[in-house]
Subunit: 178 residues, 2 copies
């Protein structure tokens, strides 16, 4: 089991998930300007995380079954954030508050070490994402993300992946065929 699965199992076996949430397609889990310090587990469905900069939407993350999801900036700063999190189809989640989660994490050195590994993996993924964005060739960007996250292409509609990859849906369709 990887560290994320281990943490999920521990939270579930100790009954620490606090809420069940059901979102219909296109419904929002969080919108700009709100504080959200919960951690979510996606039990079914899929979501996208996006920001709006200068009237343009930028999709920056996805969540689907068995993923852990959070409004990361708000989770860390405990301040309002600009993120939107929207369901792409009917989606079910479980949530745990930061307070409950941190008391679970701080209850044992083993939990702390597991969480540290998860956060370090996140740092690594964010570095990869930064390099994706800096890669000017659409084909190279597509190949990098396909190699890293093949499941994404099963779970998420093309138009959102295209936005994430910073290319038009037509360019993405063409690259997938070639």
């Amino acid at each position: 089991m990887n560290p994320i699965q281990t943490i999920i199992e521990l939270l579930s076996s100790q009954n620490l998930w606090e809420k069940d949430i059901i979102l219909e397609r296109n419904e929002y889990l969080k919108v700009k300007g709100s504080v959200d310090t919960n951690i979510y587990l996606v039990t079914s469905g899929s979501l996208r995380v996006y920001v709006v900069e200068e009237f343009e939407e930028h999709t920056i993350r996805f969540g689907y079954q068995d993923n852990i999801l959070a409004s990361l900036d708000s989770y860390i700063s405990e301040k309002p954030s600009d993120l939107y999190i929207q369901a792409l189809k009917k989606t079910e989640l479980k949530s745990i508050s930061k307070a409950t989660f941190m008391s679970f994490i701080n209850s044992s050195a083993n939990h702390l070490q597991l969480w540290l590994v998860i956060i370090e993996q996140l740092v690594y993924q964010q570095l990869e994402r930064e390099r994706d964005i800096l890669t000017s060739s659409p084909l190279e960007r597509y190949k990098r993300v396909l190699a890293r996250s093949p499941q994404l292409f099963q779970e998420i509609p093309n138009k959102y992946i295209a936005c994430y990859l910073r290319m038009s849906p037509e360019t993405l369709s063409r690259l997938k065929k070639s």
Copy 2:
């Protein structure tokens, strides 16, 4: 004291820094293809971290006095990484190996918690950086980074900040005057 200063003080008071390194201007601390899992403390001078994608250099981080620096992807994965780290002027560093550092971190829950806060702050900074890159207006990119890291503009030559901000040195000079 912030968590980074606290960790630095603890490492110093326990004599855990293992090496002193002096780099001349333009000398490399690390080049592409090498594994580097050390953590560095910059005691004087400045450095830049960059990658080369499709023959183009992208400066993605800086380090200057009192900063902690690492080849983050190599530190986390323990594999060779594409990063270059280069001194921008004569630079002095101290280093600690990942093994020594992790045994220090794992020696107390307090150290683990401090390190977790530092890594979470890094995640937050990376999110800000991702949003910088996605911001299409050069003026907005400049304002975001100036508000967040005013010291950067004291420590680092213009041409490298311009590269980091993805604009020409001429555009950056114009924005600084306006």
